[in-house]
Symmetry: C2
Subunit: 342 residues, 2 copies
């Protein structure tokens, strides 16, 4: 770990000697403290510049008791696929990176495995970051709740569950699902399947919207039309094939996410079921690839950029002590080819 850094390592005391002043003066000059004489300030800045001086953030942060960093945590949905699975999360990450760097904050990326929620607690205790954004509550609701009672600068992307004690930012999953299903109903579909795992809070909300929309359209809910699709690719295919093997008649699918929709179209294709000719399908998320898919995916758009912005704003309000609330972002239906309406 030595000899690795071959770059000039100028520190504040060096600049101080060079300028013939004290460290205090250098510190103040560099931070534009008005106590310092204009001429002195300029001279010091010039010297610092010339010698390529850069503040050591470790030291400054230790002194100031902050870090200039925000942790972004992804609870993994399952053990199988070790990478991030859903492009949705990744788009969110990109936007978060933008929002944070606009505020000159750094982004510390963490993944926590389903087994070990302790990770979150340690992350916080080590004081590596000034606040935490958790992307998706997954099945960790209880842990997050417990944690939030002791740690304030925490915001979660996900569903606003009734028993949450933590701040959330999330999409209006319920109404998004209602719109999706109503659209399918309007196209004349009656036997609409639900593909997704409603154990996850957000998916649960989407399922509730599905149920409500069916009820409103006077279509009896047929529980056998629900296919519990897990988040890993193989499991998903297996579940969907199992569903198809039952040979239940259905004319449309409301998929709980675009990824599920895409996987479904693929499985359908292999069995000669054509989308949207034989079956209409609507997804959820509007990931970048939804528009580029063939057929292009009808889907419920979540405002990912807006979500990232709200997450960061909410977090900074917390950090500054400004009162804030949870946010629910509106969703909208994007009609494309996969539902046959085009």
């Amino acid at each position: 770990m030595d000899g690795a850094r071959s770059m000039a390592n100028v520190k504040m005391s060096d600049i101080a000697s060079l300028a013939g002043v004290s460290e205090s003066t250098v510190s103040r000059a560099l931070s534009d403290n008005p106590l310092i004489n204009e001429a002195t300030r300029l001279r010091i800045k010039k010297i610092a510049e010339d010698h390529g001086y850069v503040l050591d953030l470790r030291a400054r942060n230790l002194r100031l008791q902050k870090t200039g960093t925000i942790s972004v945590v992804f609870p993994l949905l399952h053990e199988v696929d070790s990478g991030f699975s859903d492009p949705f999360f990744l788009e969110m990450l990109g936007y978060l990176a933008d929002e944070l760097s606009d505020r000159h904050y750094d982004l510390l990326l963490h993944k926590i495995a389903p087994g070990e929620p302790r990770g979150l607690v340690e992350l916080i205790n080590e004081r590596r970051s000034d606040g935490v954004v958790v992307i998706g509550q997954s099945t960790q609701n209880a842990v997050i709740n417990e944690l939030a009672s002791r740690y304030e600068p925490l915001v979660v992307w996900g569903a606003a569950l009734p028993d949450n004690h933590y701040l959330t930012v999330g999409s209006d999953n319920y109404n998004g699902a209602v719109m999706a299903v109503q659209h399918l109903v309007a196209l004349g579909h009656r036997r609409i399947a639900f593909f997704g795992d409603k154990i996850l809070p957000e998916i649960g909300e989407r399922y509730a919207g599905y149920v409500a929309a069916l009820e409103k359209a006077d279509i009896a809910l047929d529980p056998s039309l629900e296919c519990r699709v897990p988040f890993d690719r193989l499991g998903a295919r297996k579940a969907m094939n199992g569903f198809l093997d039952k040979k239940l008649p259905f004319d449309a699918v409301f998929a709980a996410s675009d990824l599920v929709a895409i996987a479904a179209i693929n499985v359908f294709d292999q069995r000669g079921i054509r989308v949207p000719v034989d079956v209409s399908i609507v997804g959820f998320d509007d990931i970048m690839l939804a528009a580029a898919y063939t057929p292009a995916l009808t889907t419920v758009r979540q405002d990912i950029g807006g979500g990232a912005k709200a997450l960061v704003e909410t977090l900074f309000h917390r950090l500054n002590g400004t009162p804030t609330q949870s946010t629910i972002l509106p969703t909208s239906l994007v009609v494309r080819a996969s539902c046959g309406a085009k």
Copy 2:
């Protein structure tokens, strides 16, 4: 920034008083230093545990002159799309996160805009991380080269350009492209278009492979069959539509990335050109969605997981002073439906 942290903030000196020993002893006990008496060590650890003590990494890192963090930098390819564009990069990011967390290192995520390469230099100077992984040299080769001469713990994912002074880990783009094009040739195609922007080093290597494979097959290179597809979605569509407007006959496409291939299939579809019936297409990357696409994409697989591993290993060798070299990872052809061979 005050009152934000409501969590108990126990520090080492607190544990020391509680245990009736000095801070030194606590420090040593917690790090299992054999100097400390077994009984004392256990007692101190117990107390620390009971009081939820966690090391303040800022302080430790300042003292030890390290950070326990690795920066991962994404040079943005274009100004338009502010998010990360390519799922390939994001899969890479996921794997890097795994590799680093296995080594108990944190991952600091950075994006640098095309305009301001200074970002990289500052990032390094602020000493926020012990090393840097740059994902894709983009068009920043000169900057990276200059930087690498002064800063050692730096590894770059990308092409091993002849004038590089920095360590790289990358795929065998050339041979991957050769395989892809040879496959198309073997299927009887003669007019094979190249879709991609060869200004980027890696794409340049793929183009070279394309040219070589054609030559070997005695097919004259037709420059009009090259379509310079930029990285942003709109620009890409525009370029491809422009290409199609020229009505040049072609029977296959070698796309420089899966994303380009997917976009191409989409544009083709809108014009009634069917894949693989009318045109065969081969992509590059094997992103997760390549298999899930309809038609499933024939593509050149890059070993992303292996790449991430090599990047991290190479970087740690650098940090430890162990001599290392650049790595070129083998690529392989994955045959699926989009080339019509299935």
